[in-house]
């Protein structure tokens, strides 16, 4: 006897949902891996601090360390561009290499850079103003909240000297993603998959920013 009921509850929507729930996280991983590979690489000194239970920001899932770089606090008197800001607004920070291969902010803007600028020599980091204190602004770029896996967390706890660096990969849209941490000279790369490299995607080394 043919099963007439099976035709009444359609199977296709379930298969579609199954494909969706498989592909979505995988696409996220691939997108992240692609951002790590094709962005422009920048090294910055970093201060790594564990977030204790009292400071734990419950709005950040799994983040247990905070990475602070000089770019998180910008003196608006020391850079060109606008000087009137309010919290929770997007900001574009133009970077330039300084001594010891460390990058500095030389200009800030509330508007995204021109397309031509991005194609040539600009290196821009997109952030969001967290607080304004006089002429200092506190900026977040999304890479600050660090979810350290157990083995990395152990290294962070055992770290002696505070001469750490982080390696960022900055995309053409100004979004930064953490590529690696260099702790006491040891390179701790972020987990990555090889697919982007197999597809022939590759990263750039930052070219010098134009003169002020």
């Amino acid at each position: 006897m043919p099963d007439t009921q099976s035709a009444t509850i359609r199977v296709k929507p379930y298969i579609l949902v199954g494909v969706f729930l498989t592909l979505l996280p995988l696409l996220m991983v691939f997108y992240h891996a692609q951002r790590m590979v094709i962005g422009t690489i920048v090294r910055l000194p970093v201060h790594v601090k564990a977030i204790n239970a009292a400071q734990l920001d419950l709005t950040k899932f799994g983040a247990n360390y905070r990475l602070t770089t000089p770019l998180n606090s910008i003196d608006t008197h020391m850079v060109t561009g606008q000087n009137s800001f309010s919290p929770n607004t997007p900001i574009y920070v133009f970077l330039s290499p300084g001594p010891n291969d460390i990058w500095y902010a030389y200009s800030i803007s509330k508007l995204p850079p021109q397309h031509g600028c991005q194609l040539t020599s600009c290196l821009v980091l997109k952030g969001r103003i967290q607080a304004v204190n006089g002429h200092y602004i506190s900026v977040r770029y999304q890479y600050e909240d660090f979810a350290a896996p157990p083995h990395t967390a152990k290294k962070l706890r055992d770290m002696t000297a505070n001469n750490s660096e982080l390696v960022l990969s900055i995309g053409a849209n100004g979004r930064a993603v953490l590529r690696a941490l260099i702790l006491d000279g040891e390179n701790i790369a972020q987990p990555k998959i090889l697919i982007p490299e197999l597809l022939g995607l590759t990263h750039n080394i930052a070219s010098p920013a134009p003169a002020r």
């Binding site: 099976s6 949902v17 969706f20 729930l21 419950l58 899932f61 998959i193």
Partner: protein, 482 residues
């Protein structure tokens, strides 16, 4: 002559009710009646058990579907799907305990999602609602778990607002695909949390503009599934979102408080007209949507009335900025928004006019009424200048006129609610009249002559509304005779 008992232009159900093959009981909670509605009720009963209208057609539309038969209906199949589901959940737990590799965790979570899908399908087939909802929960759980693993393992933490917003979108998408009320309810709750987060931090979220689209999808699906709780939650989210964003914009001095109140008024009126059109077309929840719109519109009108009644400075109106409507950063956007709402109200009236449900005069009256309050704010200096030579105090005269109009409309709603036997309409009208009495009392006590102006406004509005309703009835009669 039975047609004298029924006014069709406000969709009043016949007092005696219909009896289409025992369908009367299905219509008790609806707003409308007719062949279309009966068909939709049948479709609903098939949805509620997860069976398509195709099956109902095969059954000739008579009674519930047959008891499930075949391999999928067997208890062994259910037990196998249940065992697989439990095994998948244990595997997920073990993955978090034993395997730190994020990709392995994501794949195991996806496998758990597939097992949950199978279990959900079998439970739905066998009409085991509890297990169906349980497995739907684990589908969402495994999906969001995989997303969180992907975000944290690759160090891209997102904030709570982005997470709840994303969750709301994903749950809505799954609800649309699987046509499940349970998922829709979860999506509604996530949407409410997303909006509440904005209010808590008084910050406009990055993707706030996507909210109306999400809301439209949720409301459309709730209407399709005839799901009352998701519909109420979606409407509540919309109200919450609108108020939250208006508060944020007002606090950021992007618009004034009066502009925000006007926005609530025009949105409410527009929504109410949408609800009226839904009633005309006998779509589920038409009356509910009309009432929601009424609450918005009357709240805005009452607040503006209070502002126009102010003869001596008092809070909160005494703290208002002296800037005109045109001097705020979002003035142009606000004017465009109000104009769009007027356009929609006009369009709705045009549709009703074409369907012979409204007269031209009625349509013009509704669009005109909707424009009065925003115009009173935009052209306040000009109004004061115009009224000055007439030796009339613009405040509280304009406030009393607004109060008269609100009272007239509330009386009309009360009469209509009593006639149609709709407690929600009666309750809303009584609440409006009570608030109106409280607002207008001070002004009438201070200057008894104001009572005359107020009474005159009530009379004019009531007569206009009565004439409009009578005209509509006459047109309906003419149409039915033709």
């Amino acid at each position: 002559m039975s047609y004298f008992d029924h006014t069709s232009n406000d969709n009043t159900p016949f007092a005696g009710g219909f009896s289409h093959g025992g369908a009367t009981s299905l219509l008790e909670s609806g707003d409308s009646i007719g062949k279309f509605d009966v068909a939709k009720n049948k479709a609903y009963s098939s949805y509620s058990h997860g069976f398509s209208t195709k099956h109902m057609r095969e059954k000739g539309g008579q009674g519930p579907p047959d008891k499930p038969r075949g391999f999928l209906a067997s208890p062994i199949t259910f037990f196998a799907a249940f065992s697989l589901w439990v095994a998948a959940l244990v595997a997920v737990y073990m993955a978090f305990e034993k395997y730190p590799d994020p990709l392995a965790r994501i794949l195991i979570l996806s496998a758990g999602g597939w097992a949950s899908l199978l279990f959900s399908y079998v439970s739905k087939y066998q009409r085991r609602d509890f297990f169906r909802d349980l497995s739907l929960s684990t589908i969402l759980g495994t999906l969001m778990g995989a997303v969180i693993v992907a975000l944290t393992s690759y160090n891209t933490p997102i904030n709570f607002a982005a997470f709840t917003g994303g969750f709301a979108f994903i749950a809505t998408l799954l609800a649309v695909i699987l046509k499940e009320r349970y998922l829709l309810t979860i999506a509604n709750m996530a949407t409410l949390s997303w909006t509440a987060y904005s209010l808590q931090y008084l910050q406009t979220q990055e993707y706030y503009w996507a909210f109306p689209a999400l809301l439209v999808v949720q409301i459309a699906l709730a209407i399709e599934l005839r799901a009352k709780i998701p519909l109420a939650l979606a409407s509540l989210s919309g109200l919450f979102w609108l108020v939250t964003n208006l508060i944020i914009l007002t606090l950021a001095v992007k618009i004034s408080l009066l502009m925000a109140i006007c926005a609530v008024f025009v949105v409410g009126l527009t929504y109410s007209r949408f609800g009226k059109s839904m009633q005309d077309n006998q779509i589920f929840s038409g009356l509910f949507q009309t009432n929601i719109g009424w609450v918005f519109a009357i709240t805005g009108a009452l607040l503006l009335q209070d502002y126009w009644l102010m003869t001596a400075p008092r809070l909160p109106w005494s703290n208002l900025s002296a800037l005109s409507v045109f001097e705020y950063p979002l003035s142009a956007q606000w004017i465009a928004f109000v104009l769009i709402c007027f356009g929609i109200i006009g369009l709705m009236s045009l549709f009703r006019l074409r369907a012979n449900r409204q007269t031209l005069l009625g349509g013009i009256g509704i669009v005109g009424f909707s424009t009065v309050l925003p115009l009173s704010i935009i052209f306040k200096p000009q109004i004061l200048q115009m009224v000055a030579p007439l030796n009339i105090a613009a405040t509280p005269a304009i406030g009393l006129c607004i109060g008269g109009a609100v009272t007239g409309l509330a009386l009309g709603m009360l009469a209509n609610g009593l006639r149609r036997g709709k407690p929600s309409m009666i309750l809303l009208a009584l609440i409006t009249l009570s608030i109106e009495a409280i607002i207008v009392m001070d002004s009438v006590y201070a200057e008894p002559d104001n009572l005359m102006l107020f009474g005159f406004s009530v009379l004019v509005m009531s007569l206009t509304a009565g004439l409009y309703a009578h005209n509509g009835q006459m047109r309906d009669l003419e149409t039915s005779h033709a």
